[in-house]
């Protein structure tokens, strides 16, 4: 053990003697480790942001869209015909065992007014279950109840963007807003969710009882007073999403009287699956960035090997002398290996600092969310040690097995 510590001391002394060269050699590793940490940070940040957006949509989410029926040979697109009803939602909620909740929704654009302020936004007519499905919480006030839905009460819940545009910093709860000449009492404000995975502002919305929306604001569907836009469905577990889709498909076909062989008059989409694709691509990007950055780490390692080889050649006489005064194979090997590993590790530590700093700068300046994990720091440190040993071994071995006579005579 004593000999090991002596070798370390000798190696550190040699590095100190060649300060500039040591610093330049480390630079390769510093850039490599810094790049790996910053790039993985950027990638992980992007992945995390997408995950947050997906979570903001609500969990285990399935959306049922109406439409696409063939009428006299003309196929209408998705949502072309209002084929879904509030009763469909109720039936799905009660009859499908894999479904936890189902909420019918209608939506439409409106101009909403508060005194001299007005704002164009989207009204969604929903039921209280919608709040649970979409994972909404209240910033202030309360969500409306099913009694409000039954009574078609003139009550509304505002998204934060709407609240801000109509009331500024004030709390709108309990105030009145005018929507399509109908006064509504503001029941509360939703906690902001930010952007959806598709980039929409999820806070630019007004929620109200579906009955109120169809009867007083948006107007009911002429053909079917109970028709709704889409159904938001929550499966009981992530694993229940696929069975829930099967069950709903069968139930809706039966309820809509669709014969075998005929096309569905509705479309079921697994939202989680759609957004999971984005998440996967973000992860792939993260791995790709890390891989590209790793290349520079390897280049840094080759730099270390290069300098160590030069160093061994240049210090041939020194090695000969060390052998003459009693340095054994292992002592010399250890000395040069320790030099290489020290260069790599010192470079690694500085690289970690550089990488973390770069991530912070990237997130501040470029407004990209970055996330430097402890794991990536530990991995960068271990990897730089491995680079040191791997690229330091060959030069060290070369030094250790020099012939002392030749080495002493070397000019």
């Amino acid at each position: 053990m004593k000999k090991v510590s002596a070798s370390i001391r000798i190696a550190l002394r040699a590095l100190k003697v060649n300060r500039l060269r040591s610093a330049l050699t480390m630079l390769g590793i510093i850039i490599g480790v810094g790049a790996v940490i910053a790039m993985i940070g950027v990638g992980t940040g992007a992945t995390k942001r997408i995950q947050e957006q997906i979570e903001s949509m609500g969990s285990n989410l399935i959306i049922v869209l109406p439409g696409s029926i063939t009428s006299n040979g003309v196929r209408l697109g998705s949502g072309g015909v209002a084929t879904l009803t509030q009763d469909d939602a109720k039936a799905i909620a009660t009859e499908c065992p894999s479904v936890a909740l189902a909420a019918p929704t209608v939506r439409g654009g409106v101009q909403v007014v508060n005194g001299s302020n007005n704002w164009a936004t989207t009204v969604q007519g929903v039921t209280p279950d919608y709040m649970t499905i979409r994972d909404y919480t209240m910033l202030s006030g309360e969500f409306f109840t099913s009694q409000d839905v039954d009574a078609a009460a003139k009550t509304a819940v505002l998204g934060e963007t709407v609240a801000e545009n109509l009331f500024g910093d004030g709390d709108p709860t309990g105030q009145t807003v005018i929507i399509k000449n109908v006064p509504f009492t503001v029941a509360g404000v939703l906690t902001p969710k930010g952007q959806s995975p598709t980039g929409q502002d999820q806070d630019d919305v007004i929620l109200m009882p579906i009955s109120t929306a169809t009867q007083k604001v948006l107007g009911a569907n002429k053909a079917n007073a109970k028709a709704v836009g889409t159904l938001m469905v929550q499966a009981i577990t992530p694993q229940a999403i696929d069975p829930a889709i099967q069950e709903m498909g069968a139930l809706l076909r039966e309820r809509h009287g669709i014969l075998p062989g005929q096309d569905d008059d509705f479309t079921i989409r697994n939202l989680t699956e759609v957004f999971a694709t984005q998440e996967t691509s973000a992860k792939v990007m993260s791995i790709l960035l890390g891989a590209i950055a790793s290349v520079s780490l390897v280049v840094g390692g080759i730099g270390i090997m290069n300098i160590m080889l030069v160093s061994v050649t240049e210090r041939t006489r020194e090695i000969g002398l060390r052998q003459a005064v009693g340095g054994k194979t292992r002592d010399i090997l250890l000395q040069f290996l320790v030099e290489a590993v020290t260069l790599a590790l010192a470079g690694g530590v500085i690289g970690i600092i550089v990488g973390v700093t770069a991530s912070i700068v990237i997130s501040r300046v470029a407004q990209w969310s970055t996330d430097v994990s402890l794991l990536s720091i530990v991995m960068a440190f271990v990897f730089s040690a491995v680079v040191g040993v791997f690229f330091g071994y060959y030069p060290a071995r070369k030094a250790a097995f020099l012939d002392p006579i030749e080495a002493l005579r070397y000019e």
Partner: protein, 249 residues
């Protein structure tokens, strides 16, 4: 008392391609403890090869070499390193000091490769060795801040720091002027007399060989003469004679 060095029928061949070059062609001699031996001979006489073998840097092709009663011909690389560390001190013509490294750290070098020497003891012994060669106060100086003679004295301090049985000096005065060379010889004589260290000096200069009490001459790989000098010259006295005013280093 058994001799420190006992060489019997020593042969060393080098192979260059298919040709075998016989550098040492069967040499036998013994050196007793406390002797001051000079080795002389023209270039190509095989004296450098002999020095390498005596210094355990090289192995003989045939014959035996007993150092302190141990046959070193069969030892491996690391065992030889151990012997060099413990029993042999080297002094080279070109000093071979580590650049940008203080005198004290240069002297400490053999102790770095020696087991069970604490940092404190290493420092103490290095200081003592530097003191013995008259370099107290120069511990922190680096080689480029020292004169040639001072550098060679650092090298001598390094050779004796681990308490060797023998010191091998290969043309130790070759890179120095005659006066400084004399100072080095004075130190060698003092170490030989006071510490009882066996000195072996390779030189081509008869004036240097005159300070030893035995002179081995080599030619064409053979020992041609082995002269003992009952009254070798005293380097210290010669220094005083050279410059009576300045005194001795």
């Amino acid at each position: 008392m058994a001799p420190v060095i006992q060489i019997t029928d020593l042969v060393k061949d080098y192979h260059v391609g298919d040709m075998a070059i016989h550098v040492l062609k069967g040499i036998s001699f013994a050196i007793d403890h406390g002797e001051f031996v000079s080795i002389m001979g023209p270039s190509g006489s095989g004296k450098s090869t002999l020095m390498n073998i005596l210094g355990c840097l090289d192995k003989p092709t045939a014959g035996t070499y007993l150092l302190d009663g141990v046959s070193v011909g069969q030892l491996g690389r690391n065992e030889l390193a151990e012997i060099r560390n413990k029993k042999i001190g080297f002094v080279f013509q070109q000093f071979n000091l580590l650049a940008r490294t203080s005198a004290e750290e240069n002297v400490e070098l053999p102790l770095m490769y020696s087991d069970d020497v604490s940092v404190q003891e290493r420092r103490t012994r290095a200081k003592k060795a530097l003191h013995a060669v008259g370099l107290e106060g120069r511990e922190e100086h680096q080689p480029n801040q020292l004169s040639g003679g001072q550098q060679q004295r650092v090298a001598i301090a390094r050779s004796l720091v681990n308490g060797p049985r023998i010191i091998l000096a290969d043309e130790p005065t070759g890179a120095l002027d005659s006066r400084t060379g004399l100072e080095i010889m004075a130190i060698f004589q003092q170490l030989n007399r006071d510490e009882g260290i066996t000195m072996i000096v390779v030189t081509h200069d008869p004036d240097i060989a005159a300070y030893s009490n035995r002179c081995l001459h080599f030619k064409d790989g053979l020992l041609t003469s082995d002269e003992r000098q009952a009254a070798p010259r005293d380097a210290r006295q010669d220094l005083v004679a050279l410059s009576p005013v300045e005194g001795v280093a």
